[in-house]
């Protein structure tokens, strides 16, 4: 992948206007305006930035920025056009040389290297909250990441069945350390040794979403240099979006001919979302009883692995005492879109409202999902309900509470 939009011209031209993306595109489904549809974004990006038939206007900027980058259109697209990548490249093009973007980019660079906010960014977040710029109920990332505490090797309990490297997502790292601890607990309980390498950086997806491909590539390279040298059967992550980045998008960023291409391919082949990996190898320790009614929200970034969305259902089906209550539309976006909701509060809020109704009608007290952004964003509007990673629910069934 390069910043050059022209590279995508052939792909853009494959769009036949079949309109099948109307079935999944969350911004379209909410507004029912065809301009805010995946195929329209392709059409307008071509008209404004490639053919230059239209001048990029504020309306055009809104349309490009109004994409949640969920990638659901790619799933619905018979031609599998990578609309998300085209939108990212367009954002990169639009952001070039913009002062505001430069500020954001610098903050992002620091955030990514740190895998969480450093003191200055934390300060900026605090100001934003005071000024009412931060949505209520959404926790702010803390600057004492959990990686430092978990780094190293945690031996398995009982007979060792395998060894994995655990890539802790930035969200678990600085927002939700309980999830990271639960993942380690559940794996080691099941005879799998967990290694948490120090010095990894953010997966790079936030930079990619901004269209900052160089920054994203830098993060991928840094992580590959570390992950490529480790001896493990699998690399697991608690975050579906990190999974997508490590498994799929990294290969677009490290094209054939790049010195790290072979490493990227090897690493990509080992990446699993933690629930899916555990479901694949099976549980060796039987979970105890857990009286709970729960439902499952499928994260948008799920198509990198076709069985990822089935894994939580399958793995937790054996929890004695629990009852699973399926959502009417489990795959529909919740509106979070990573950090999309911070800047599009109205649209995100309306998308979320439908999800909330769906969740409430299931009667579930716990909602599980492998995406930390979805969990935080839904939790803010669901007082009295808990939003958990699937493995956190399993951790409870093993008797660990709140990160053991």
């Amino acid at each position: 992948m390069s910043g050059d939009l022209g590279k995508y011209l052939e792909q853009i031209d494959k769009c036949s206007h079949c309109e099948f993306c109307q079935a999944t595109c969350p911004s379209f489904r909410e507004e029912l305006v065809e301009t805010l549809l995946a195929r329209s974004r392709l059409l307008l990006i071509k008209a404004c930035l490639i053919d230059r038939e239209l001048t990029p206007s504020p309306r055009f900027r809104d349309i490009v920025d109004g994409c949640l980058m969920c990638g659901r259109c790619v799933e619905a697209c018979p031609a599998r056009i990578p609309v998300d990548e085209v939108v990212a490249a367009a954002r990169g093009e639009l952001n070039k040389g913009k002062f505001c973007h430069e500020l954001r980019r610098r903050a992002l660079t620091r955030f990514m290297a740190n895998r969480g906010p450093d003191r200055m960014i934390a300060f900026a977040f605090a100001i934003a909250e005071k000024m009412g710029l931060w949505p209520p109920g959404i926790p702010q990332p803390v600057s004492a990441p959990v990686t430092g505490k978990l780094s190293g090797v945690v031996k398995s309990r009982g007979q060792e069945r395998g060894r994995v490297v655990y890539y802790i997502g930035c969200a678990a790292n600085s927002l939700d350390p309980v999830t990271a601890r639960d993942v380690v607990q559940v794996f080691t309980e099941n005879g799998i040794e967990v290694m948490v390498p120090p010095d990894l950086v953010c997966c790079g997806l936030p930079a990619l979403a901004e269209g900052d491909l160089e920054e994203a590539r830098g993060a991928v390279v840094r992580n590959l240099e570390i992950l490529g040298g480790l001896d493990a059967e699998a690399i697991i992550t608690d975050c579906s979006s990190c999974g997508m980045m490590l498994k799929v998008k990294s290969l677009s960023l490290i094209p054939a001919g790049h010195p790290l291409r072979a490493t990227a391919e090897a690493v990509s082949g080992k990446v699993w979302e933690a629930t899916e990996y555990l479901n694949g190898v099976g549980l060796s320790r039987k979970p105890g009883g857990l009286e709970v009614v729960y439902t499952y929200h499928e994260p948008c970034h799920r198509s990198f692995s076709p069985t990822m969305k089935d894994a939580p259902r399958a793995l937790l089906a054996s929890l004695p005492g629990s009852r699973f209550s399926e959502l009417a539309d489990p795959g529909q976006c919740c509106g979070a879109g990573g950090t999309f909701f911070l800047e599009h509060r109205d649209l995100s809020g309306r998308i979320r409202a439908k999800k909330l109704e769906d969740i409430k009608s299931t009667g579930a007290e716990v909602v599980i999902s492998q995406c930390p952004a979805c969990r935080a964003y839904l939790a803010a509007a669901l007082p009295g309900k808990e939003l958990l990673h699937p493995l956190s629910l399993l951790a409870r069934a093993y008797g660990f509470r709140g990160g053991g």
Partner: protein, 466 residues
């Protein structure tokens, strides 16, 4: 440009601001349907009505100023039918998307036109009811668009197309007045059948704002089967054989090897590439009936010595074949520079001749011709595929299209089974209907739409007026 600004300004006064779009970006996105090449110009404004009252207001305004109005559903049509070639206003009906009622006793539903077909089907299936019409864009296409084009799909063979399910309509006429045609009863013999005049009128007579649709009880069992045939001729004969022996599958699709190759990408359990043609079938009904009928069809297949008959037991797997089938046309559009989907339909017993004729056309013009479609009801879609678009290939494509159309008519068929005429087939409509019939249609058009503002430029050729 001034015209665009004026219309937009007036509409903003007439309706809430969030129901009107008039930026150049928005207008560009409403210029085309799923046949990109028919897009000629952007509309001057797009209106997103939420009530019949909204539609009526817009029509009164447009009527007074003689501004063209083009209603639009999902925009997934394949005939250029909803392209605003004269500019004016596009009425995007997707926000009128309420299912007003599903009446379990009367087996009737009342819907607004923007309801997405698949959403409607899921809603009625929850009540153990069934709405069969299944155009392949069902995940996005709207009931209003379906009614306006008499859309259909694979289930046509047993259940017919949309036209068979429309009992009554609420319609806003070009001058803004509102009429209710038909009703909710299965029997209705009062005056001219305006319900079925409006059904299939492609937005040229009025705007459908509500519809009463007939429902059936949901068949409790279904089974999918695939027959791998040695030749297209064998598959075609198999179709006639199955039907003549009294078995009526719910869906009966004819596919060529090339189509199967593309579908295989989406299938976990891929189909063997040993055949030259394939029949994809679904049998539905009571469990015993499904067992009996699928057994009978398997026996017919065996009797005709097809290469393989696959009976799909798993529901999820069965679904994957139909989903892959749904993707076939769009995937062709992604591979080829231009795809012209023809829509002829012939009496079922003429399928073998049709298949043979299509092969001859393809060979004699040296142009690839896809062939996939609803063989069970005679509606096979010959698809002209252009890898390059230039003067020579366009000329050949035009020749192919004309020969396909003439073949369909010669075999006693129709030039369109389920897509409608739109812009795509207006040059051929006279071949089928003849001058007199077109004159009758035009006088009806003139009586209902005297100013010719409803979706102008569609169905018949421009120079013929209106």
């Amino acid at each position: 440009m001034a015209k665009n600004k004026n219309i937009a300004r007036d509409l903003f006064r007439l309706l809430n601001a969030d129901k009107v779009l008039a930026e150049p970006e928005d207008r560009l996105c409403y210029a085309a349907d799923a046949t990109r090449y028919f897009a000629q110009r952007s509309p001057d404004a797009v209106v997103l009505p939420e009530t019949t009252e909204d539609v009526s207001r817009v029509m009164k305004y447009a009527f007074a100023r003689t501004i063209p109005v083009t209603p639009r559903g999902a925009g997934s049509g394949l005939s250029g039918g909803c392209t605003p070639i004269k500019g004016g206003i596009v009425l995007d009906m997707k926000r009128m998307n309420r299912i007003v009622e599903i009446n379990l006793t009367n087996l009737v539903a009342q819907v607004e036109p923007g309801v997405v077909l698949a959403h409607f089907q899921r809603a009625v299936e929850k009540e153990k009811l069934f709405y069969p019409p299944d155009p392949q864009s069902m995940d996005v296409c709207t009931l209003g668009g379906n009614i306006a084009t008499r859309a259909g799909g694979p289930r046509g063979v047993k259940y017919g197309a949309t036209g068979n399910y429309v009992l009554g309509l609420e319609v806003v006429l070009p001058d803004g007045s509102v009429i209710n045609t038909g009703g909710t009863c299965v029997k209705h013999s009062v005056g001219y059948d305006l319900t079925h005049l409006l059904t299939g009128s492609e937005g040229t007579l009025g705007v459908i704002t509500r519809a009463n649709l007939r429902l059936l009880p949901l068949p409790p069992a279904r089974k999918t089967m695939v027959a791998v045939c040695e030749t297209p001729e064998q598959a075609a004969s198999l179709v006639t054989e199955i039907i003549s022996q009294g078995a009526v599958p719910a869906r009966l699709e004819f596919l060529l090897k090339s189509g199967i190759g593309l579908m295989n990408v989406y299938l976990a359990n891929r189909l063997p590439m040993t055949g030259e043609a394939y029949l994809l079938m679904e049998i539905d009904g009571l469990p015993a009936q499904v067992r009996e009928e699928s057994g009978r069809i398997a026996a017919i297949c065996a009797g005709m010595k097809v290469l393989e008959t696959r009976v799909v037991e798993d529901d999820k797997e069965a679904e994957s074949y139909w989903r892959a089938r749904q993707n076939l046309n769009p995937i062709l559009q992604a591979i080829f520079k231009r795809v012209i989907s023809e829509d002829i339909t012939v009496p079922r017993d003429k399928i073998p001749q049709l298949v043979q004729a299509m092969h001859e056309i393809s060979v004699s013009l040296g142009i690839p011709l896809g062939l996939a479609g609803h063989a069970g009801d005679g509606n096979i879609h010959p698809t002209v595929l252009l890898a390059q678009v230039n003067e020579e290939t366009e000329k050949k494509a035009a020749q192919a299209v004309e020969r396909i159309i003439r073949t369909g008519l010669k075999l006693g068929g129709a030039i369109s089974g389920e897509h409608g005429i739109g812009l795509h087939k207006s040059e051929f409509i006279e071949l089928e209907l003849g001058r007199t019939q077109i004159e009758v249609m035009k006088s009806i058009k003139k009586a209902i739409d005297p100013k010719g503002i409803m979706n102008p430029g569609k169905i018949w050729m421009e120079e013929a007026g209106l």
